[in-house]
Structures are given as C-alpha cells and as structure tokens.
C-alpha cells in the first residue's frame, strides 16, 4: 500500500517537473538555457531506492519523455535508465547526507546524460553539434542544476528517506550497523 503511494507520488512529481520544464523554464532561464530537473529526479530515485527501481523508473520516464517531445523513441529512455543505474551504484560509495556530494553527483549525472544524448543523437540522427557551443551550454546548465539542487535539497532528502524506507526496508540495518 505504501509502495503504491510512493510510486504514484513519483509519477506525479515527474509530470509536475515535465510541466515545469515546458512552461515555467521557457521564460525563467539563464540566457535561454534550461536546467534539467528530470535527471535530478531519476538520480534521486536511483540513490534512495536502489539500482533496479532507479533503472526502471529512468527507462519509464525517458520513454514517456520521448513520446511527449522527442525525435525518436528510446534515446532519453536509455540515458535516463543509465542515470538511474548510476544512482544505485553511487549510493554504495558516497554519502547522501552532504549537500556537496549531492551536488557533485548531480553534476556528474547531468554531464553523463547530456554527453550521452548528444552522442546518441549524432549516431542516430546525424546531429552535428559545435563542441564549443555544447560546452558553453552544458556549463550554464550545470550551474543552473547545482543552484536548483541547493534550493530543493531538503525536499530531496525528505522524499528520499520516504522512498528508502519503502523500498529498502531490510537493508537499512546493514547499512548503519
């Protein structure tokens, strides 16, 4: 029962973030560059709920993103799945209780995601992109993402521990003792 509630909450937050990206960040942006909140969401799921669930939700959200607004089905699906997996992997090695590690992890995830997206687009759609322009945009996006992470960090932790309680009930003891 609790699981269903948490899953519904995750899906609702995905839809909310999507609408935010489509409407709010179209005018609230840094030099026309939008942040990427969906990466933050999927990484958080991976970090708190584990590899399996992170990957599943990543692929699910990615494919729905591709359906909503994408050139072909699967590119965001693959990349967000990878991000969810990375989240699960990072959970074992890093602490989530520090704001700085959280920001670092989100930055790394965003870099991996965007590079992956651009490479996949290059191979699938022959999308050629100016490397200097790409780096410029990526830097601004990273700064934007970091600022947003600082702001929403308390919310991430609150939701994250709810998720952890729900999905990793038996493992929680081995982690802390």
């Amino acid at each position: 029962m609790k699981k269903i509630a948490v899953i519904t909450c995750l899906i609702l937050s995905f839809l909310f973030i999507y609408l935010l990206q489509v409407n709010f960040f179209l005018w609230f942006n840094l030099a026309g560059i939008k942040p990427n909140l969906i990466v933050i969401l999927v990484l958080t799921i991976g970090l708190f709920a584990g590899k399996g669930i992170g990957t599943t939700f990543g692929i699910l959200f990615g494919i729905s993103l591709d359906f909503f607004i994408g050139k072909s089905i699967g590119i965001s699906g693959i990349m967000l799945g990878i991000i969810g997996f990375i989240g699960g992997y990072l959970d074992k090695n890093f602490s989530k209780d520090s704001r700085v590690t959280m920001i670092t992890m989100i930055t790394i995830a965003t870099v991996i995601y965007e590079i992956g997206i651009v490479l996949l687009n290059y191979f699938i759609h022959q999308a050629q992109i100016n490397i200097i322009y790409f780096i410029e945009v990526l830097l601004v996006e990273l700064i934007f993402n970091a600022i947003i992470t600082i702001i929403i960090y308390p919310i991430i932790m609150k939701l994250g521990y709810k998720m952890e309680e729900c999905f990793k009930e038996n493992k929680i003891l081995t982690r802390y003792f």
Partner: protein
C-alpha cells in the same frame, strides 16, 4: 578602519538607492491609481473650499446666474459625447478586423501555390540540445510525416511524427536538420545545417567560384525531397573565409524568429 567602514556603508547605500531608483522607474503609474484617488479625496474638498472663497472675494458671483443654462448645455453635450464614443468604438472594431484580414490575405497570397493547414505551437522542447515544437494539428487534419512547415516570414521546419491531433515539428535550427538551399544572386546550391543557436544556420559546401555577399537571400532549392522549392530561409549574416577556399562557410540568419513563433502553416500538398 572607521573611514573604511563608512566608505563601505556609502557604497551599500548607493547601491540600494540605485536599485530602488531602477525599481521605481519601472513602475507603471496606472497601477497606483487608488493611491492617486486617496490623495485627491484628501485634497479636493479643501481645494474647492478655497476656490469658493476666492470666487466670493473676487466678485465672480454672476457665474451662478447662468447656472441653469449651463446645466442644460452640459447634458446635451454629454449625450453627444456618448454618441461619438459609440461610433469610435465601432470604428476601432472595424480597424482591428481589417488588419487581421489583411494579415491572412498576405499569408495566403504569399504561398498561393500550396495548400496549407494553419496551426498553433502548443509545446516546446525541454532539452537544450534539440529544437522540436509540437503543433495542434495531426492526421485528422491531413498532416503527415515529412510535410513542410512554414510561417509568415519563411521556412520553419518539417514534421517528424504525428498523432491524431498533434504533430512534432523539427525546426530548421535543430542540429540534425539539413536543408539544401539556393543563393539568390549566384543560383548556387549550399547545404544549411542547424546550429541550435538562436536563429542561425551554418552553410557549408560552398562552391569555390561562388561570390558571397552579406545580406544575400537564401531560398530552398527543392532538392532532398522534403522541402518544396522557393521557400524563403533567411539572409547571409557573416562569412567565414578560410585559408583553403574549399571549406569556407557562412552563417545564415533565419527569417523566422523561432523564440517567439506561435502560428505556423503546414503545406499539405506535395
């Protein structure tokens, strides 16, 4: 130390003052009409009292003798005013109608040869590395994949997928979009590719004997099978001359302002 501190305070006060100044200078006065009203309510009774006394003292009393005549005239004038205002409103409506009709006429005149479906942009891309818009027409309106999308100013892009009542448009400035185009003066063909940058394309494969001039217009060449011939793309903005003349390129500024694009037309006949 003290001097330093007071200097710091001065700077801070100046900054705050400047910020307030900028803030105030951007305020619209009409937003504060209630404050204006309150002030006038406060001042006006006193003002009329003073005027009354002044008139009494100056002997302007005969003013009241003609009061009745003036009142009558006033009502007449008020009625006339209402009539005039009404006709003015009607004129304004006609004017607005006229301008929109003219716009439609221009749009359809420009692309007379094509059968088009009008559409609105209803969704924009969330990624920083691709440019895709969703429009509010789909297969129900006869829109199919690979159809060309144009706006009043020129070429917008082509449709990459459709649903029953929406369609995704890949814009000209998307990095995977390529369009073969013709230079207006030399009639030479070049390949324009999106750069993701605001309203610019990068043109390559420029023939070695082509003479390029800034401001020259580009149209679609009709090659490639997606875009019909002769749709306006934009003008040459900057030319990148390289040491080796075979790989020179130039930047094209698109005619369409993609940031503020709202209404588009989909060409439905091939």
């Amino acid at each position: 130390m003290n001097k330093k501190r007071s200097g710091m305070a001065g700077i801070i006060i100046t900054i705050i003052f400047l910020v307030i100044l900028v803030f105030i200078s951007n305020l619209k006065l009409s937003q504060f009409s209630y404050i204006e009203n309150a002030f006038s309510n406060l001042i006006m009774p006193i003002q009329s009292g003073i005027t009354f006394i002044k008139n009494k003292l100056a002997g302007n009393d005969q003013f009241f003798a003609t009061m009745d005549v003036l009142k009558e005239e006033n009502t007449q004038l008020k009625q006339r005013n209402i009539q005039l205002e009404e006709s003015l409103r009607q004129l304004e409506i006609i004017q607005a109608e006229n301008s929109t009709l003219k716009e439609y006429l221009n749009l359809t005149d420009k692309y007379k040869g094509y059968k088009t479906v009008p559409a609105y942009v209803i969704n924009k891309d969330i990624s920083n590395y691709s440019r895709i818009y969703v429009i509010n027409v789909g297969t129900d309106n006869g829109v199919k994949e690979n159809m060309t999308v144009i706006a009043a100013e020129g070429l917008v892009g082509h449709i990459i997928s459709t649903t029953k009542d929406t369609a995704k448009v890949q814009l000209l400035i998307d990095s995977s979009n390529v369009v073969s185009s013709t230079l207006e003066n030399s009639k030479d063909n070049v390949i324009c590719r999106g750069t993701l940058d605001e309203n610019t394309l990068r043109a390559t494969y420029v023939s070695t004997d082509t003479v390029l001039t800034e401001g020259e217009k580009l149209h679609t060449s009709g090659m490639g099978g997606i875009y019909p011939k002769g749709i306006y793309i934009g003008v040459i903005k900057t030319i990148n001359e390289t040491k080796n003349i075979t790989d020179r390129s130039f930047i094209v500024e698109t005619a369409v302002d993609f940031e503020n694009l709202e209404a588009v037309l989909v060409i439905t006949n091939e």
